[in-house]
Amino acid sequence: MSELVIKDLQVSVDTEDGPKEILKGVTLTIGSGETHAIMGPNGSGKSTLAYSIAGHPKYTITGGTVTLDGEDVLAMSVDERARAGMFLAMQYPVEVPGVSVSNFLRTAKTAIDGEAPKLRTWVKDVNGALERLNLDPTFGTRSVNEGFSGGEKKRHEIAQLELLDPKVAILDETDSGLDIDALKVVSDGVNRFREKEGKGVLLITHYTRILRYIKPDHVHVFVAGRVAASGGPELAEELEAEGYDKYLKAAAV
């Protein structure tokens, strides 16, 4: 069971000219076992939504609420949110020089579970996850995200999704910059996660391409810091054919 409820979320960032409002009241409910796709043009505030839910210090919440199974997410620290079951696959994963992938994964798993994983099964789990994401077994010895190709970074994010097994995953443009083979590998990973009981997915994307592999239950069009329209998978088909123009014009008025 997992339900992520976002109500009237308003977020601003500090700029040289003072605070700038980016999210202007976002309301969304990701029910247990549901996959929601958020589609929107560049600069519409998709990453801001993802980062704000995860607790990035750059963003200031000026209004609204976010709850996970009734718990106040916004009152939690960044790591508490992760331990409560939130996971963000980042659009631009961060390099951590000198920290190996295997050390990182083990540290994260220990933090999430509150105890160190059993060595035998853990090694098997890690190797399995890396293999399913088409990552070389020596991947574990490399420094986190350092010198990774774009595709390796995204596949590493999904490997973490498999291993850390959150309640709700927010995937911020995980499809961007992937060739078709990598896109399939990543989509398979996300689908394996979705098959598990009660998992929620918020799939943020700029393109409709990934929706051929990951079938959303709901699609939202995101423009200028707001949900401009919501519907079923047919909405994605409409966007594929007509683009965001209609919504952008409406937002500009």
């Binding site: 949110r81 020089p97 920290v99 994260a108």
Partner: protein
Amino acid sequence: MTVTDTDLGTDPSIARDSVASALEQDRVESHLNPPPSYDLADHPVPTGREEVWRFTPLKRLRGILDGEASDKQLRREASLPEGVTLTEITAEQARELGELAPNDRPSALAVANAGGAVLLDVPAELEATEPVVVTLTGKSADDLVWGHVVVRLGRFSKATVVLRHAGSARYAATTTVVVGDGAELNMVSLQDWDDDAVHLGRDAIRVGRDASVKHTSVSFGGDVVRMHANVEYDGPGGEAELLGLYFADAGQHLEHRLFADHNQPRTKSNVVYKGALQGQGARTVWIGNVLIRKVAEGIETYEENRNLVLTDGCQADSVPNLEIETGEIEGAGHASATARFDDEQLFYLRSRGVSDAEARRLVLHGFFNDLIRKVGIPSLEEQLTDTVEAELAKNVLDGLAPVGGAQ
């Protein structure tokens, strides 16, 4: 980020040096480093305004530079692989072995006052399988101790030498390392002093033809630690890797000064020093001087210093200097950066459930990790990693307000 280039155009002392070098190749001196000399008159008591002393808190040297005689010693324990010897020699013998003359007051005083030297001798062609470990332990910071050491590696020999300083003292020492042709040395000087020790040290290295030297200076303890690592070459083809790792706590002054003197063609120097600072008044200084002489064609040099500032109230100075007298070089570069914890890195780790303190520990571990592996002494690796983490545990994990995105 601070990067300082020596301005070749306007510094009159460089112009003078260049003229001198055209006349008399061997005598040219770097304007960054005083001329070597055994004569104490050439090394007057510093006022603190001198370029080479301006970063050092002279008062806290507690009278070492006055140069009083003292017969106090550090207790010496040595573990020597077969064939390697440790003996006492006279100061004259040390000179005859080809030691490098003192280049500052503490090293000149050390030679004058130590009453002889200790020779660590690795015979020609011996390949020592175990590391040489020498531990020098002081009794009290009230004891003034003068040290004079020569390390000699015979032709084509191979050795690892760990020199560990512990306990407390006011200690000034000069160590010459003469590395024979084709020999290979891996040497670590570990400053693991108690809180009140003062250590002024100079490791002067002569790299033989086609020889290679790795020298690592590790400074954790002490009130004031000021270490020189000097390298020059006895022939072409020599390589020197100069590494350093330091961790300054509240009130500590840790200073590392490098001088790579490319006085021979086709020689290499590669310098990487990394440091962390935490607590009120923690101070580190890194001065990286590289001189590429006219004869030194086809050389390669790179130097890098990185500092990670963990809390408010710390100061890290970092000054790379490059003097170039020939244009015929393979490569020369430097980098220097002083940074705080990166908010994006901490956020990434914390978004995976890792606590703030644990995220900082990981980042710091990563910061030093590559360097610790480069040291290349497995028995020391774990010890260095543990010490770094213990240092971090002292303050940051104890809830001393860290800088940056804690929330």
